[in-house]
């Protein structure tokens, strides 16, 4: 059973500059068809200050942490033993190329379902830009597979 005392554990803040090149690559990888996600000129013509980050781009910020998989060590689980169960986003402002984001993250909850057959861990994060404006919040929930860690 996962260590419930880790609920509330905070992870070091992560600072990320949203680079144009990174947005272009992310747009390509997610097969965005709208050029506001990869062409600065067209984005500007459509009233955006620069290239727009798509809805799921925030997922990349977590992987910019110095130790993105520190939580596996903390929880005593392995990467092959988990799956992404849920993802929730609340958006307050758009993110554009050139923004400097700061992510704060913590373990929001650890819980079980089906009499402990399934265990879940959720991470709550918030993202602020260079103006210290909250741009989004997210909750990512992972599920342990196979009870391999029991």
């Amino acid at each position: 059973m996962l260590n419930r005392s880790l609920i509330g554990k905070m992870y070091p803040e992560t600072f990320v500059l949203v680079e144009k090149q990174k947005l272009k690559l992310f747009a390509k990888a997610t097969q965005q068809s709208d050029p506001i996600y990869f062409d600065e000129e067209i984005a500007k013509k459509n009233g955006h200050p620069s290239i727009l980050a798509p809805l799921t781009f925030l997922t990349t910020i977590g992987y910019e942490q110095e130790k993105p998989y520190q939580y596996l060590e903390d929880l005593g689980i392995s990467l092959g033993g988990i799956l992404h169960a849920k993802q929730e986003y609340t958006y307050y402002n758009c993110i554009y190329a050139g923004d400097k984001l700061r992510m704060e993250s913590k373990i929001g909850d650890i819980y079980e379902r089906k009499d402990g057959m399934l265990e879940f861990v959720s991470f709550i994060s918030n993202y602020k830009n260079q103006k210290n404006v909250l741009v989004a919040e997210s909750i990512s929930t992972l599920v342990l597979r196979n009870n391999e860690n029991k």
């Binding site: 990888a29 068809s33 798509p54 799921t56 990349t60 929730e88």
Partner: protein
């Protein structure tokens, strides 16, 4: 022009569905690099097998990005306020995904129209991969929306 169409959305209406190309290994490889999610379960078949799968599986977040695109194809991204998904089953190599959204509720506050969408991604055989919901807020220019009662 997008705006005029979506302002007339009623409960039960569906957004245009998005159909993906077949999921391929190179697609997952590209997404791993672009997102920073290098979990080998998405790119390394040996690792996938060691962990009880028959092959690599797609990143849930890639599937989420497809249904997100179905929404931003019709709604301005800044109007999307909430976007939640549950990953129901694994997405496999060669799956062709259909991403769908349906209006399940509407709310009006002065010039604000709030649209509640139910989201779904399924493969060709109808297996559900993702279920979700989204909240969209549109500012109406004038109170002439035909669905406003």
């Amino acid at each position: 022009m997008k705006i005029n169409e979506i302002n007339t959305f009623r409960i039960g209406d569906e957004i245009p569905s998005l159909i993906t190309k077949p999921i391929s290994r190179s697609m997952l490889d590209l997404y791993a690099g672009a997102s920073g999610d290098h979990n080998p379960i998405h790119i390394d078949i040996d690792f996938a097998k060691k962990n009880g799968l028959s092959d690599v599986i797609a990143h849930g977040m890639l599937v989420m990005s497809f249904i997100g695109q179905a929404m931003t194809n019709i709604f301005p991204q800044e109007s999307i306020k909430k976007f939640d998904t549950k990953f129901i089953s694994m997405t496999n190599i060669n799956d062709i995904l259909t991403c769908e959204g349906k209006v399940i509720n509407l709310e009006f506050e002065d010039l604000l129209k709030r649209i509640f969408l139910k989201l779904q991604v399924r493969d060709e055989s109808g297996d559900k991969k993702l279920l979700g919901s989204a909240v969209i807020e549109l500012i109406l220019n004038e109170k002439k929306d035909i669905t406003h009662e």
